[in-house]
Symmetry: C2
Subunit: 215 residues, 2 copies
DNA sequence: GTCTATACCGGGATAGAC
DNA sequence: GTCTATCCCGGTATAGAC
């Protein structure tokens, strides 16, 4: 609508003048899509906003992914890969003599993913679209993969896995709610926030406000 | 688009021919809105679909609520009232000699709200819209109210309240995911579902599939 | 590989009759 | 209290040039 540098920036990368390969562009656009879908949801997001956030034109986004729906599917696919990748890395990391057991490491890895803007929110949005003919299927498949990770790779029993998943869903919810915006202003909220991010509070407080989505 | 009885039905009430008061209509429309917003999200839902589900015309829905945004705000307000109402009733219910302690009663009350179609999903959608200027504010306020209920009325400590909330978020997620659609077909999913609805499984399995949202 | 121009449609909102 | 007709904007997708 206005100039290209107006507002939509999100994951806008260093603009080296060089022409990128379409794979590089895809990756770049997916990063941008994560922030936009995360903030607005699947239907609320526009391909134009994604395009501006990525620094390309709207038709090009459609051209590269075929459709908005495909872009969303690619985006949640990427998010799930990152998520499971982070979990596997945390699982493989050294224990440091009981100082940080697996559970704690995985939990922290989950929270650390807030650095990938929009990742948690986009996944949460996808999980709510179970009725959608294609997205619903992909979302269920992804969710089941996470469950499998907890049960088979991490070796939790069903109850432990459930609690883990539950804490994760709460964290995602709080991020999507942007409850961080009220942190400090309302004692209830402050307490709630503290209870949910017992460790890493300062880090979370530093990263989250940065992801401004009021574009 | 086609005839009124085509497909959009959801909470369509007994059609007594009589003219309703606008308050009755509002209530009726909110019920319908719950199912549509729940299935499609705020942006994905259309006022037309809500209208058809309620058996009225699209402009009338807008007329009664002023805007789609207002309709959504009214809808989540209603959902929160029902939620807290159900919690308070469960809190006040008799203990039956340790047979069903408060925690269990509240948990079951939460699950029972699946009978109000779309309630959990709509709230979950609202919670993800923290970036929205008006919806975000309302969602945070509602979430904080629930937290207050757990802490002040129910008397939980911060950690207990957090766990409670977490389990609730997981339940909402599973409902939105419509994981019930895969129950029985995939052993992983079956196990996950069982772990999350330890009691009341038959009831849940009976109610959820009914809420078909592929309209 | 990427853009501009544009077709096309769906959806929220308004006007106004009954 | 409720409808029909309609306006108009915004958003996806396509055509086609560079």
């Amino acid at each position: 609508m206005t100039s290209a540098t107006a507002s939509g920036r999100a994951a806008e990368p260093e603009d080296t003048g060089r022409r990128l390969s379409s794979d590089e562009r895809r990756a770049q656009i997916i990063l941008a899509a994560l922030t936009v879908f995360g903030a607005r949801g699947y239907e609320g997001a526009t391909t134009d906003e994604v395009a501006r956030a990525a620094g390309v034109s709207q038709p090009y986004v459609v051209r590269l992914f075929g459709s908005k729906e495909n872009l969303f599917l690619a985006t949640i696919g990427f998010a799930l890969d990152r998520l499971l990748g982070a979990f596997r890395a945390a699982l493989a990391a050294p224990d440091e003599g009981g100082e940080n057991p697996v559970g704690k490491r995985i939990g922290e890895a989950y929270v650390d993913l807030i650095e990938v803007r929009g990742l948690h929110q986009t996944l949460a949005h996808a999980y709510l679209l179970g009725s959608h003919p294609t997205i619903g299927v992909a979302a269920r498949r992804g969710f089941a993969e996470v469950w499998r990770f907890f049960r088979d790779e991490m070796g939790l029993d069903a109850d432990e896995a459930r609690s883990f998943l539950a804490e994760g869903m709460l964290i995602s919810t709080l991020i999507g709610l942007r409850i961080v915006d009220d942190y400090g202003s309302d004692p209830q909220i402050t307490e709630l926030f503290r209870a949910c991010f017992p460790n890493k509070l300062p880090h979370v407080l530093e990263v989250l406000p940065r992801s401004e989505h009021r574009l």
